[in-house]
Symmetry: C2
Subunit: 356 residues, 2 copies
DNA sequence: CTGAAAGCGCTTACAG
DNA sequence: CTGAAAGCGCTTACAG
């Protein structure tokens, strides 16, 4: 095998080794690797075969040094919801390691503390920033970044701002779909636990619920709707209020998994079986959803996917800027998924059983 | 400001800019940046001032290209316990972005599927691998890596293998400390929920519990000990068995947080208040511990810290190998912490109240 | 204590 | 369709 011993003694296959092996210039190998057109098909095949044979993989450091697009991407997160974070990081890592992008992470305490963290990222040479929720939804943070003249992309931003890049799901549509599913399962009296009022997604989810109910000709009873704050405890309390009324619902839709888990605890405490006597569903599909028993039926956001997309978007944005081009803000909307687990079932209670 | 416009039009401050600004050679700047000795104190100060003034930060791509130690580090994980994973990734990222290390991630289904994933990592040019649990505890995976001649470091490996690098806490000592704390709180009848039998940590935690009980002159009653499998449900069931006996314990120590949360659910279902009538503590301090209500008293592993340490260890190992040097396997043991939250309190039940 | 030269592995820009 | 030259920003190895 054509191998070279680096100054320090490591063994690395370089583009020159491949070139020599095939009998072409390094330039041609480079072209093949980067999928450029102007290469004869035959040559391309030979190069590809050599790459395979020598187990060559390009040195990303050298490439980014040469292309000058060694983008440094900053990640800013706050309220480390670990469940979200790990998927988020996985997505970011997968994409950026492939692109040879350097990553810098910073955390802050909500939108208020963001400015200092962003300053730090910029001083460390970041070319752009990726924002996790709830930062991605903050107009204040967006403003700060615009003032700093730093490109950025928000992940899972619920609030639709037209002038910034974001990757999200349609929270309204997702809540609508989950509610419709409950109705399909025969539920008519459905309780709802709202999310924290300061999150825009809370509103969208509630609206989605309301729309689906209305569309099915059902009324969302005020006493079956309770305010929550995205915490387990708030779900626990909210469920207690909802279930304390004489006319109990057959299902409760909580705006996130932690609250749904809290609601399950309340049900158990009241001696209600989930899902036989009460269906409970959540939103987000965090670790909580599948650690609790029964496991939660919920809505899943493809977070890793969204995070990966955000890296691509940001990189494009940085590249455009370097080339002095305009960059049109893009808003990508990804598909959510309904995950049916053990906390939901057909209603078996009296009253109107579904036949729709 | 001395700025240079790259071929592509980006603005970057280089080592040459700093050199020119100070009036020395780039070489001297390089020396200062890398903290080398042979630089006059005065020169050093001037360079540092310039670095600050020009907001210079070295181009990691160029550096790793020049030093030839552009290590590619592979991360292998399985059973994505998201709670663990996010902290783990955060630690890895923080350390490796600072070192300019390239990261590749791969996942697999337990030790059985590891070989294929490792092969893939190696083919992608990884110089070494970091293993998350339970992979870090698998002799099989260790064997595979040794056969592949790839350096690696295991994170949170419970099994003490002398010939491999690992960063862990002392599970035995941690369980001992938690048990002692319960005894300090006046508990005498303490139940224990064991972890999955196939995890070595389960055994260490149980042993730690037993040691502490014995040392305090207390007996670990067989009917107060139940087998669990690290799942919420298994904790739920185990607690039910433990609490079904006439002589109830005043505290239950579960070998992880998910099981502790399950035990809390059982207690609630049986109408027992936590912690007033029953103290329940966990282990790991995952997201579950602080999402559940009451929040769980538990043992915390400094996972991000351990992960960062594993990157450093691996990098050292890779470097030694490149220099043709021997590398002594290192086993780092980090400190755990007892996190006291709302699920534990002094015992108020009859019987022996502590005065120790 | 400091510097001039060469090289890391790749790509851009220019020729042919 | 292919290649020779120069350069990306930094460091190593050698001189002084």
């Amino acid at each position: 095998m054509a191998r070279k011993v680096g100054r320090r003694g490591g063994n690395i296959v370089t583009i020159h080794d491949v070139a020599r092996h095939v009998g072409v210039s390094p330039m041609t190998v480079s072209r093949v690797i980067n999928g450029e057109k102007n290469v004869r098909e035959e040559t391309r095949a030979k190069v590809l075969a050599s790459v395979e044979a020598l187990n060559y993989s390009p040195n990303l450091a050298a490439r980014s040094l040469a292309t000058q697009d060694a983008a440094r991407v900053g990640l800013l997160y706050s309220n480390p919801s670990v469940a979200f974070l790990s998927e988020f990081l996985l997505g970011i890592l997968g994409e950026s390691s492939q692109a040879g992008t350097q990553l810098l992470i910073e955390s802050c305490d909500g939108p208020e503390g963001a400015a200092a963290a962003l300053e730090k990222l910029k001083n460390n040479g970041c070319d752009g920033v990726i924002l996790s929720p709830p930062l991605s939804d903050s107009t204040r943070v967006a403003k700060t970044l615009q003032d700093m003249n730093l490109p950025f992309v928000g992940v899972a931003a619920a609030r639709p701002a037209t002038d910034i890049c974001a990757v999200s799901i349609d929270d309204h549509k997702a809540a609508f779909a989950m509610t419709r599913r409950l109705i399909e399962l025969g539920h008519r009296d459905i309780g709802f636990i709202k999310g924290h009022p300061n999150a825009y997604a809370s509103q969208l989810r509630f609206d989605g619920f309301l729309s689906a109910m209305a569309k099915a000709g059902l009324t969302a009873e005020p006493h079956l709707i309770a305010q929550g704050y995205f915490t387990y405890r708030s779900g626990f309390d909210a469920a207690e209020r909802i279930l304390s009324h004489k006319q109990r619902p057959t299902a409760i839709f909580a705006s996130n998994d932690d609250m749904a888990a809290g609601a399950v605890a309340t049900a158990h405490r009241m001696g209600l079986d989930v899902p036989d006597q009460l269906t409970i569903v959540g939103f987000d599909d965090t670790a909580m959803a599948s650690s609790v028993w029964p496991e939660l039926t919920t809505v899943r956001q493809p977070i890793a996917d969204m995070a990966a997309a955000s890296v691509r978007l940001l990189l494009e944005q940085i590249r455009s800027r370097r080339l002095g081009r305009e960059f049109e803000p893009v808003r990508e909307v990804r598909d959510f998924a309904l995950i049916e687990r053990q906390s939901s079932t057909f209603t078996s209670s009296g009253g109107a059983i579904s036949d729709s």
